[in-house]
């Protein structure tokens, strides 16, 4: 039971005694209902949405958002934000692109170097936030701008261009692309391996949250920072670890994006960080921390991917795309909120 950590003793028995309430009280229930609603809507409204080729498209669209949303959800449960998460996906891919195409570094080594750099930046984010006590919103906003500028400046300086070109000619490209960019065709539908990564990341995150000591620490530091420090939770370690998890996930998404398209632009990922947060919130995370779920965030990303591609399948005028998207997301959040309040908040 994920939510027991922040529940008062008085409410706990009541919830646990009613199985339906227990299910409804889980953070991901609202997102699951909303996801089903969106899926049914587009399946009925369009002819291609619920075919294998259609599903391949919206699953791929959801997968990279999903990986990040799960990591960002863990971080948000732990009470922090990471606004550099979006630009980090471009940054990690650019590191690999530049090291291989400009300096001839082995592509596997370059990928590992990129991961190390990403983890270091994540650790730095966490360390600065914890040491200074500044809001992570501000600290990571700074990192976001530093990285966005560096992406453009360094790429231009070293390659003379603003996008990595010629990745496919790098030796051993195919050997690594198989792990991040390969796809499987089933019944005319193309399914990318990123979907597998998405599922794996969600399972691992769920297991950590619900079955390990680290999971309890995450809920504790996000729900009640001072109390958890007093009872001996390693606050610094937990939070730094969460920031590193986020930047590690950004590396994974960066690799997926790089080897899916064999190119990366200096502006890749900029602005995506809010979508990750939206997915996590749709999935039941609270902006205040201490509550949420990895499965919920994955479902939030699924909703986003389905709406995003569903609008295209529906052949609506895409000038309205963002408006429709915003409206659907608000609806999802309302539904989610309503379901949860029905479950935990009495009869109102």
């Amino acid at each position: 039971m994920t939510t027991t950590d922040i529940m008062t003793i008085a409410t706990r028995p009541r919830v646990e005694n009613r199985p339906i309430r227990r299910i409804l009280g889980r953070p991901e229930t609202g997102a699951l209902v909303a996801a089903l609603a969106v899926m049914i809507f587009f399946s009925v409204y369009t002819t291609t949405f619920l075919t294998l080729p259609g599903a391949g498209v919206w699953l791929e669209s959801a997968s990279t958002f999903g990986i990040m949303a799960v990591a960002v959800a863990l971080l948000m449960i732990g009470g922090e934000f990471d606004l550099s998460a979006g630009v980090m996906t471009g940054f990690t891919a650019l590191v690999v692109g530049i090291l291989t195409t400009q300096f001839g570094v082995n592509i596997w080594v370059a990928a590992i170097v990129s991961l190390a750099v990403a983890l270091a930046i994540g650790a730095l984010n966490g360390y600065v936030v914890m040491r200074t006590g500044l809001p992570s919103f501000i600290v990571t906003l700074g990192t976001f701008f530093v990285l966005a500028g560096a992406d453009l400046a360094v790429t231009k300086l070293l390659t003379g261009q603003v996008a990595i070109q010629g990745m496919t000619k790098v030796p051993f490209y195919d050997s690594i692309a198989a792990f991040f960019g390969s796809s499987l065709t089933i019944g005319g539908g193309v399914f990318y391996i990123s979907v597998v990564w998405w599922i794996v990341v969600t399972i691992i995150a769920t297991w950590v949250l619900l079955r390990t000591r680290a999971g309890n620490w995450i809920f504790a530091v996000g729900g009640a920072l001072n109390s958890s420090r007093q009872v001996g939770v390693p606050v610094m370690k937990t939070k730094v670890g969460l920031f590193m998890t986020t930047s590690g996930a950004a590396w994974l998404v960066g690799m997926i994006s790089l080897f899916r398209t064999s190119t990366v632009q200096a502006n890749t990922g900029v602005g995506q960080e809010f979508i990750y947060i939206i997915c996590a919130v749709v999935g039941g995370c609270l902006l205040t921390g201490g509550y949420g779920s990895a499965v919920g965030a994955a479902l939030g990303a699924l909703i986003y991917g389905m709406v995003f591609q569903g609008i295209t399948f529906a052949q609506w005028d895409t000038n309205w795309l963002r408006t429709v998207l915003g409206g659907m997301l608000l609806l999802a959040v309302f539904l989610n909120h309503w379901v949860r309040r029905r479950a935990t908040g009495g009869s109102r």
């Binding site: 369009t46 453009l152 261009q161 996008a163 398209t261 632009q265 200096a266 295209t312």
Partner: protein, 321 residues
């Protein structure tokens, strides 16, 4: 309890609306199974609210309504997402795809998949070099190199010496090419200036401070119509005497060319790219014709100067030039 009933009411109404909608959705979709009507997807790398791409869209839609074809327009500047939009069109089994390739390598897999699925592809705007290799039937656009070189010469004619080349979108290979090509024929010095194209007031401020920092700058070359207006503002606010020239048009740019505040504008005729892109697919669908026989078809450059601005102004007012 009251809220619960309101909630149920909303869900019920929404349910009825959805059922009603699904009826029409089925009807339009089943209207064109036997090839009487065509559906073409136009997928560009535009960001939201871009004036240039709105003209491409207008052109494509005008052609679509002329030919009785359905046009769906989608855009995303991120190549991974643009690829997904292409995959989406393939999944819908459209009759043809018009695509712009700002970063061709990023779209390669998806475009080749579309071609392999038997869907004819026409590339427009950028990606002229890769178009044929990826299996597109033709390319309609302006060679950035040819246009850039022509601009460099035109700047020489106006005897300018120190020109800024304003790049509004980081990561767009085509924009970089324009500046590079203009630099190659321009006899003076040309410096690139990177600005945030999604924020016009910041573009103006950046140009203004650059002009104040270096009074010897006597020309500003912008790469999009709306940025020329920012540059004109920046020039007047910094009391500089720099002349503004620009790629691409808008109604205001034409007015400024008429008034003499903008020296000239290079029109790559986006409306033509949208219109001809769809036309190329339509001719292929109905008559097996390939415009240009597989060779790229140039939509520009056409120069708008004080001499012909009045004529162009009429069309710019309609949002088609």
């Amino acid at each position: 309890m009251k809220r619960l009933f309101t909630g149920i009411g909303i869900v019920a109404v929404a349910g009825i609306l959805l059922t009603a909608c699904s009826g029409t959705g089925q009807a339009t979709n089943s209207a064109n199974p036997n090839g009487a009507k065509y559906t073409y997807a136009v997928i560009t790398h535009s960001g939201p609210g871009d004036a240039f791409w709105d003209r491409v869209k207008s052109g494509a839609e005008a052609a679509g309504s002329n030919y009785g074809a359905t046009i769906t327009y989608n855009a995303d500047p991120d190549p991974a997402k643009q690829s997904q939009l292409i995959d989406n069109a393939v999944a819908q089994k459209v009759n043809g795809i018009v695509v712009s390739m700002a970063n061709p390598e990023g779209l390669k897999t998806s475009i080749k998949a579309a071609v392999a699925a038997g869907i004819p592809v026409v590339t427009i705007n950028s990606g002229i070099e890769e178009s044929a290799a990826y299996g597109a039937i033709t390319h309609i656009g302006q060679s950035e190199t040819v246009a850039g070189q022509a601009v460099g010469n035109k700047l020489n004619d106006s005897s300018l010496n120190n020109v800024l080349c304003v790049i509004q979108e980081a990561g767009n290979v085509g924009l970089e090419q324009r500046c590079k090509a203009a630099t190659s024929t321009f006899k003076g010095t040309m410096t690139n200036l990177q600005v945030d194209g999604t924020n016009d007031s910041e573009v103006k401020a950046t140009i203004k401070s650059k002009l104040q920092a270096d009074p010897s700058i006597d020309g500003v070359l912008t790469l999009g119509g709306q940025y020329a207006l920012d540059a004109v503002g920046g020039v007047s606010e910094s009391n500089s005497t720099a002349k503004v020239a620009t790629f691409d048009l808008s109604e205001d740019v034409v007015a400024d060319v008429q008034a003499g505040t903008i020296l000239f504008a290079v029109d790559q005729q986006p409306y033509v790219q949208g219109f001809l892109g769809v036309t190329a697919l339509f001719l292929d669908s109905t008559n097996g014709n390939i415009i240009g026989g597989g060779q790229p078809v140039y939509s520009g450059p056409a120069f708008v100067t004080k001499d012909n601005a009045a004529q162009v102004a009429q069309f710019a007012k309609n949002g088609t030039r």
